[in-house]
Subunit: 217 residues, 2 copies
């Protein structure tokens, strides 16, 4: 049986629609009253594990799920050993450097060496500043990263931006972009090579589906 | 001005009650409509930064808050450089090893070497198994750790248990305890030595308050 790890939150609705289009109906996941973390499709050919966004690559890497849907941002941050198969197009956002609107910084290299950068994405932030040869101190936070510059704890933040509303509400401004992110279909590398649970067939159907939706646009 | 980092979630209500008892009223934080991350008390002598539980020691360590309230579990996991001042008594829970009810394991040392242990508290888990000289693979997860044993990804979990309901609902059973946790008052070490923002006076009042409540019990 095919097991798919799907992320709670923003990517769930589009993920369910994607698998519905290839004949696997997990609509039960969209029911707000749903508390189940394991859900089967109506034909009992596949099962979903509903997990945190950042846990999707873990379940896929350890082979507890053969397939998974997860944001590229998580894949960049966690560097899990999983096969990246398809760019699913939805869940667009970008990883940015942002500073206070009234700060003197207008691009990354304006920041002084040894500045503090608050981020939930510490590996992405470290890599980026290393590439720019700018030694900074990355302060790991788990939520409300925008409080970093507001309280004066950090000169800048590295964070995901979708609409930019949170930045504007907190008088922050985006000054540089690390990368863009969309949802990706990933697979356990061993399962993929062995075509476990007929997964190639499903992956091909998803690829076709992507071409169909691209043609419709 | 005194700045206090308080954690969103389970510890907030008791934290607000504690500061109210020493004359600092942050009741606005308990208003469900509140979206402010910075809140002043009515006399404007102190300010609260409302942050994630695991970010409290970060704000205190970096001196953006002189005082903070946070669970001992977070302090054990993060090993931040902060002064531990007062055991506040509320927010009791325990860090446990749990396994599937139908597994053969009834204590930590029953687990085989190289077992997998899923946990949000990877440092606590590693320290504990190192102390037991039992080499294990700790699998870092961010949510729903109970899925680890259910899906067969891990033999056991290390997680916080308050009432035990989540364990029971998932047919898991607690087999050993790492430590007990309650909320702690912490301080930035430099601010504490310098008695910034009259913090010693507030800390003394909190200590007295703890004695009063202990006497009432």
């Amino acid at each position: 049986m095919l097991t798919i790890a799907l992320p709670k939150g923003a990517l769930l609705k589009d993920s369910v629609a994607l698998f519905k289009a290839i004949g696997l109906d997990f609509s039960a996941l969209l029911d707000k009253a749903n508390r189940q973390l394991e859900v089967w499709d109506s034909t009992h050919t596949a099962r979903v594990l509903l997990v945190r966004n950042s846990d999707v690559p873990v379940y896929v890497e350890y082979g507890q799920a053969q397939l998974g849907v997860v944001g590229y941002d998580v894949l960049r941050e966690k560097q899990s050993t999983v096969a990246h198969l398809v760019d699913l197009g939805f869940g667009y956002c970008r990883m940015c450097v942002a500073v206070k609107q009234d700060s003197p910084y207008r691009r990354t290299l304006d920041l002084l060496p040894h500045s503090r950068i608050a981020s939930k994405f510490v590996n992405c932030a470290r890599d980026y500043f290393n590439q720019h040869d700018l030694p900074v101190e990355v302060v790991p936070l788990h939520g409300s990263v925008e409080l970093g510059p507001i309280t004066g704890m950090s000169e800048a933040i590295v964070d995901l931006v979708a609409t930019g509303t949170t930045l504007r509400e907190n008088n922050l401004v985006e000054i540089d972009q690390l990368f863009e992110s969309t949802a990706r279909l990933i697979a356990n590398p061993v399962s993929y090579r062995l075509d476990q649970a007929n997964m190639h067939q499903h992956i091909d159907q998803i690829r076709e589906q992507m071409l169909v939706s691209a043609a419709q646009r």
